[in-house]
């Protein structure tokens, strides 16, 4: 991990949130929930901007999906 973009720090920050929807700002998780709607509601209430996504819980979540 030493040669990763953040030396593994981003991976470590996400580790506790597998399967959760999070608001992520840089290497910091600001908020987490089981619902993306709840996360965005929290962001808007606090006037913040962040990456909103579901942290992968399985290899399939993190896959590259062939689509057609």
């Amino acid at each position: 991990m030493a040669d990763w973009p953040h030396g593994g720090a981003e991976a470590a920050a996400l580790e506790p949130y597998k399967g959760r929807y999070v608001a992520q700002d840089g290497l910091e998780v600001l908020y987490d929930s089981d619902s993306p709607y709840d996360v965005v509601r929290w962001l808007r209430k606090n006037g913040l901007r962040a990456r909103v996504w579901k942290v992968p819980a399985t290899a399939e979540d993190a896959g590259s999906f062939l689509t057609w």
């Binding site: 993306p36 965005v40 990456r51 992968p56 399939e60 689509t67 057609w68």
Partner: protein
């Protein structure tokens, strides 16, 4: 524009992925991570993104797409997407159910508009709008 790949947690892990944060419509406070996927034909996002961006799918054409080995229903809607300072309008498929953690930026609605360089050796992604 150069962006670092996104690291994933240890399990499931693997190497960092080429993911871009995309603003969908006018919901500028929400950055939606999307895998830059040259194997995907379409640009696809989970349906909840359309809800939160206020994008109306009523009457939008639908299609069933194969994603991850199963079929998902996609509403196809022309949508303004923004990465960094650059915005473009393209057809996006809003999908329900959606099996992944991130959206997909595919050939029709992303690679058509950008020159994309994968610098996997140092986990960076370069994109530049196609001239003209």
């Amino acid at each position: 524009m150069t962006y670092p790949f996104v690291e994933l947690q240890r399990d499931p892990s693997g190497p960092p992925r080429p993911v871009l944060d995309v603003v969908v419509g006018e919901a500028s406070e929400v950055l939606v991570p999307c895998l830059v996927d040259s194997g995907a034909m379409n640009t696809l996002l989970p349906d909840w993104v359309a809800d939160l961006a206020g994008i109306d799918r009523t009457g939008a054409p639908t299609t069933t797409l194969g994603v991850g080995g199963s079929g998902v229903l996609a509403h196809l809607v022309p949508t303004v997407l923004t990465v960094g300072e650059h915005s473009w309008e393209a057809e996006v498929g809003f999908c329900d159910p959606w099996p992944g953690s991130w959206g997909l930026l595919g050939q029709h609605s992303f690679f058509r508009y950008f020159v994309v360089t994968f610098r996997t050796a140092d986990f960076k992604l370069e994109i530049a709008p196609v001239p003209g």
